[in-house]
């Protein structure tokens, strides 16, 4: 029970510190789940993120379910998910009840313009860190740059990239170019 409660609390912390889409959660996951608690590795976070891109649902929830399940099975998955949605439920309900024009308040707009700048920098740092553990040979470099460039310039579904890269991973391994 204590373990489930820890999962709930840890993911509630991650949820309340995530500003933006699932990608904004990565720096917080790295800090709270990988570094501070050591529940999963950076590599596993990337695995979950890739799978979460091509399965239905919110990526933040998918990642939380994965970590929770790894740590404490089915109930762990449920508790981690409830944890990650808990802050949203409270905050949004309060705002919806009392501040219908919340997003129009000038101070709120300014504060979030500032937060978005910080999210840029945090993601940049997270990418550099993940890069070190994910891109260790030329084939991986090719895949990473290819995905980055194509998804910046073209409107291609992440599902396509994920399926292609999984196939490429198997192909490269079979061809023996892995690790060179």
């Amino acid at each position: 029970m204590k373990q489930l409660w820890e999962l709930f609390a840890a993911f509630a912390r991650v949820g309340v510190m995530t500003f933006g889409g699932g990608y904004a959660m990565i720096p917080m996951l790295e800090r709270e789940i990988v570094e501070k608690r050591g529940w999963v590795t950076s590599e596993e976070i990337m695995d979950y993120y890739a799978v979460g891109q091509c399965t239905p649902g919110i990526i933040a929830v998918n990642t939380a379910t994965f970590v929770g399940c790894k740590r404490a099975g089915l109930r762990g998955g449920v508790f981690a998910t409830l944890g990650v949605v808990f802050p949203s439920l409270v905050i949004i309900t309060v705002i919806a009840a009392v501040l219908s024009n919340f997003a129009e308040i000038p101070a709120v707009k300014s504060a979030f313009a500032g937060v978005r700048v910080c999210v840029c920098v945090l993601i940049f740092n997270a990418v550099l860190k993940l890069w070190k553990s994910a891109v260790k040979d030329k084939a991986a470099l090719l895949l990473c740059l290819g995905v980055f460039i194509l998804s910046v310039f073209f409107d291609i579904s992440p599902v396509v990239f994920v399926l292609f890269c999984a196939a490429a991973g198997i192909l490269f391994t079979q061809l023996g170019v892995r690790g060179k």
Binding site: M17, T18, G20, G21, Y23, M28, E43, Y49, A50, V51, G52, Q53, C54, P56, G57, I58, I59, F66, C69, K70, G77, T81, V84, V85, S88, I91, I92, T93, F102, A103, E104, K109, S110, F112, G114, V115, R116, V117, V119, C120, V121, L122, I123, N125, A126, V127, L130, A134, C144, V152, V159, V162, F164, C165, A166, A167, G169, F172, T173, R178
Partner: protein
Amino acid sequence: MLYLRLFFEFFKTGLFAVGGGMATLPFLYDISARTGWFSAAQLADMIAVSESTPGPIGINMATYVGYTTGGIPGALIATLGLVTPSLIIILIIARVLQAFRQNKYVDAAFYGLRPCSVGLIAAAGMLVVKITLFKPELFAATGALADLFNVKAILLAAVLLVLTRAVRKTKGLHPIVFILCSAAAGVLFSF
């Protein structure tokens, strides 16, 4: 009855929206058109609030729509409806993965997936950089190069970059510290 329908509508959204929070948007517009629970204009407001509050955007939107439709129970039911399909699917995948993670083909697939994840996260970051540090629309309208850059934002980004990477005293601080300071800087310098 309303609650049952609310759960069902969000369950469907959670089941068919692939690729994260923003992928749920077309489904939300569809719910608005079919049920009349909330208007498209209301939805636009809800998106704005969801983007400017803590928490993953997709969850925030579900909670907001649920609250607008059916009060506090509605918020709870819509959110649970949204997460239930992915919870079930991921629990199954996680079990299968645990069993097959050592398989050499699965391992090879993940060898390709990790750089893919990094590329996708970097691209998502680029999108935020584009709308945060630059003003492409203003530049397109005026054509003046000075209008392309959001100078205040670029300065803040530069300061944050130094503080999070180079300064020994600050680079180990929790990311939320930098988020809160940036919010304060945003208000202080009216971003």
